[in-house]
């Protein structure tokens, strides 16, 4: 049985020392081992940006695609081989700016993959521009007078889009993050895990200390029910989205794979592709 060490490879990440993404990498490796995956049964698909490099830092199948498109690629991987566990990952710019269209539709499509976003509220790899998660008034290279656009409330957006698994965590809490990723991987449907992953180089506002001060743990809220969408929405709004833990899960709704008409229960990648002559004649006869 594989341990988390089996999910490590020999590549040294090129992230800055102190980057929140290291914890996300470790949490994925631990979660994969905890749910007893073998490295070849995991595919990590990532987007472009600092965090997008993560697919190359885990000993599993990995695909580092194009900016904003980790989700459609990951959904394609899962549709081709439903036996795989598939993680899509990237930053907040990748998922909530250029890739936002895919994010909404992946949520409502509910294909059984796990989407882990490393949310640092800034563009790091391009050296410090505003992101859709930057707060109003946030000063960056591209918003020297402060951002005049609102930050997107991504957890609320996910809930309204019909998400069946919504969670949020923080790089400093490796234990909770690992647990949420495990739950996400085991959820039968699309799971979204937004991780506050501080950028120590370009974001001097939303620091580790800032999150420690502002984040509310849902486990500290008495009687919080993660299966109640209304309460989830209300709690998010009351706390300006700054909560951590499992926000919402719907175990009733079936995944896309289970609902898709005729879709094979065995992996499509293992399908026999040949037709017999009778099948061919039938196809031809439709046009006669």
């Amino acid at each position: 049985m594989a341990t988390f060490k089996d999910f490590r490879n020999s590549v040294k990440p090129n992230w800055c020392p102190g980057c929140g993404d290291f914890s996300v990498q470790a949490a994925i490796q631990r979660a994969a081992a905890n749910i007893e995956l073998e490295p070849e049964d995991l595919a990590v698909v990532s987007g472009i940006g600092c965090s997008g490099r993560i697919s190359g830092y885990i000993n599993s199948y990995g695909l580092h695609g194009i900016h904003g498109r980790s989700l459609p690629i990951a959904q394609g991987v899962k549709m081709a081989n439903r036996d795989l566990k598939v993680i899509a990952s990237g930053g907040d710019g990748d998922g909530f700016a250029i890739g936002m269209g895919h994010t909404i539709h992946a949520i409502r499509r509910n294909i059984d993959i796990t989407y882990i976003v490393m949310d640092n509220q800034i563009y790091g790899l391009t050296k410090g521009q505003t992101s859709p998660r930057s707060e109003l008034g946030f000063k960056t290279k591209s918003t020297p007078e402060g951002s005049v656009e609102s930050s997107i409330s991504i957890m609320e957006t996910a809930l309204t889009a019909g998400a069946t698994f919504v969670a949020q965590s923080f790089s400093s809490d490796l234990k909770e993050l690992t647990s949420l990723i495990e739950q996400g991987l085991q959820h039968e449907g699309f799971s979204l895990i937004n991780v506050f992953s501080p950028c120590v180089t370009y974001n001097k506002v939303n620091t580790y200390d800032w999150f420690k001060e502002h984040l509310v743990s849902l486990s500290d809220i008495e009687g919080y029910d993660a299966h109640n969408r209304m309460i989830a929405m209300q709690t998010l709004m009351e706390n300006n989205g700054l909560v951590k833990g499992l926000i919402y899960q719907n175990k009733e709704k079936k995944s896309y794979q289970d609902l898709a008409h005729g879709y094979s229960e065995t992996a499509l990648s293992k399908a026999d592709l040949s037709l017999d002559n009778k099948q061919f004649e039938e196809l031809i006869s439709e046009f006669m």
Partner: protein, 578 residues
């Protein structure tokens, strides 16, 4: 007796013009005639003039006809817009409901037939289409009872009563015309057909069938004219084979999802038209550098931007050859008939997997949507070749080492493994990478990997890169085209030959990599080369000049008003150019 004739039905969009054409053409197909059809339509659902032109022949045909024998009109606009196509002994049959009149300079004979009135008497105005077909059958002297099989096929599921009503409508239409005209029109009696059963399909059907037979089990696509029929076919058929179709949020998702699924080992396709292909360009580059198979259909329509979404054009050529930033190996195949489209679609899947690169199956609106007779397709001529994929277990890897997915091999093609395979773990990235897929900016590695990727296509062995009709060792002119122009070119060749001009014909089927050797011989053997294409800048002619030189010899014959070439137009312009 004639060996062919041309029939057109027109009216407002949404009033059953297409289904009128459908029933008429299905019947002629059943009688064993060869057919070729053209749909004139607009980008709207209700209203606006639409027409369906159907050519019926005892011989194989591949083009819209120059003129028209019979025009069936459901409104005055149909007459006003189309009468000029009718030859002098042509016939108009029009619904008497709108008091049809023939323009002063119209020499064709107009018969007013109460399509709507008869239909209403029988219970529903919807059946006016069948009355019109009945009148047509009378003109042609085809017994209405011969239509029963087709009427049964089209309306059978609605019950026997509906079939009988429609047959009644057909008979009443025929009777009315016979009374008015005193029987069939002698000049329009078709010679008897050979009675052979032939497939009758649009190019998109043929492409879809090729894909299904070729092992496609997943498709991700976004609706667009004139490509949607491919998605619709797959939605209907893939679930029967365990597969499925996802209608994505946009074409970027369609192409990248297809890349993900191909990477994970399933033959996956997407299909679109110009605007969608523009959105897919970055994904095509990803397919190229990650060496992930990807087959995309581009059904060309009028561009740029939204352009002429329901009209014929062939202006995506350069974009398909060169589109995406940077340089990748890519294959562009352009079938010119539905039959070729079937085989090319199936073969595109093999090429994509064997050479691990994007393959564009290029079509155009007239090929994609024009319904045509197709000779029997041969299943045994198709095969599934998946390239360098392992058949057994993979050798164990050194601890923490990756599988060499991008190994620098002699033929440039590296072994490909799928997620889930033990000892196959490697990284895939759109960043330049080393043999194991790890990012690398080292200059030497960059050169090695670029050379490796581009070397792959040296071994491409496409069976018939050029469809040739070489009639002369030394020709006055070589006429060159691609995609749907083939039939119109073929049809005008005998007319040029009758004028004493020696004509050879080449229809380029493998657009890229360009079949330089085959084309060089043909160009050298001709005094002049005329390149026929539906665009305004002569894209194929430019590609030819780039690959073959002969700058002065190669001449343009262009049409870009949204309509396909008529044989006469090509003939006339060839005469001007020669």
């Amino acid at each position: 007796m004639v060996d062919q004739l041309s029939w057109k039905v027109g009216g407002q969009q949404g009033e059953g013009i297409d289904s009128t054409g459908e029933v008429f053409s299905l019947a002629q197909n059943r009688f064993g005639y060869y057919l070729y059809t053209y749909r004139h339509f607009s980008s709207r659902i209700k209203g606006g003039h639409t027409n369906n032109k159907i050519r019926v022949s005892t011989k194989e045909i591949g083009a819209v006809s120059d003129d028209l024998d019979i025009l069936v009109a459901f409104d005055q606009e149909t007459i006003d817009v189309n009468y000029h196509e009718l030859h002098d002994q042509g016939i108009i049959i029009a619904d008497s409901k709108f008091n049809p009149t023939a323009p002063e300079d119209c020499k064709a004979k107009l018969y007013a037939v109460p399509f709507s009135e008869i239909a209403n008497e029988l219970g529903t105005s919807l059946m006016k289409n069948m009355v019109a077909i009945g009148a047509t059958s009378a003109i042609l002297g085809q017994p209405t009872e011969d239509y029963r099989e087709v009427v049964q096929g089209v309306y059978g599921r609605k019950g026997e009563k509906v079939v009988e009503k429609n047959m009644d409508a057909l008979k009443r239409g025929a009777e009315y015309f016979n009374e008015q005209a005193g029987g069939p029109i002698e000049r329009l009696q078709l010679e008897k057909a050979d009675g052979q059963k032939r497939m009758f399909m649009i190019g998109n059907d043929a492409i879809s069938l090729g894909f299904l037979v070729g092992g496609v089990r997943f498709m991700s696509a976004y609706p667009i004219t004139p490509a949607s029929e491919i998605m619709e076919y797959m939605i209907k058929h893939l679930p029967k084979h365990g597969g499925t179709v996802i209608q994505t949020e946009d074409e970027i998702a369609a192409a990248t999802m297809a890349i993900g699924a191909n990477y994970a080992g399933v033959r996956t396709i997407t299909a679109s038209a110009g605007p969608g292909l523009s959105l897919m360009m970055e994904a095509i580059g990803l397919s190229g550098i990650t060496e992930t198979p990807l087959v995309i259909v581009d059904t060309q329509r009028g561009g740029p931007s939204t352009g002429l979404p329901t009209k014929q054009e062939q202006s995506d050529l350069m974009a398909m050859i060169y589109g995406t930033h940077g340089e990748i190996p890519k294959v562009v195949i352009a079938p010119s008939t539905a039959e070729e489209a079937f085989y090319d679609a199936a073969e595109a899947l093999n090429i994509a997997e064997e050479f691990q690169c994007p393959v564009i199956v290029l079509s155009d609106l007239q090929l994609s949507l024009g319904k045509q007779s197709v000779s029997p397709l041969d299943y045994s001529k198709t095969e599934i070749r998946r390239g360098k994929v392992p058949t057994g277990d993979l050798p164990e890897l050194e601890a923490k080492e990756y599988f060499k997915r991008y190994e620098d091999t002699e033929d440039g093609v590296s072994p490909r493994v799928f997620p889930g395979m033990k000892n196959g773990i490697h990284h895939v990235t759109g960043v330049e990478h080393d043999e194991t897929g790890k990012p690398s900016e080292v200059a030497g590695n960059r050169q090695t990997q670029m050379d490796k990727r581009h070397r792959k296509l040296n071994n491409l062995n496409f069976k018939t890169p050029v469809y040739k009709n070489v009639r002369h060792a030394e020709a006055d002119v070589l006429v060159v085209g691609f995609n749907s122009t083939r039939g119109a070119i073929e049809e005008m060749i005998p007319r040029l030959e009758a004028d004493g001009i020696k004509v050879n014909h080449a229809q380029i089927r493998l657009i890229h990599p360009f079949p330089t050797k085959e084309m060089e011989e043909l160009v050298d053997a001709a005094k002049t080369v005329i390149v026929v294409e539906n665009n305004s800048t002569g894209q194929l002619a430019n590609i030819m000049k780039m690959n073959l030189g002969n700058l002065d010899k190669i001449k343009n014959l262009l049409k870009y008003n949204g309509n396909p070439f008529l044989p006469t137009e090509i003939y006339t312009k060839c005469k001007e150019l020669l």
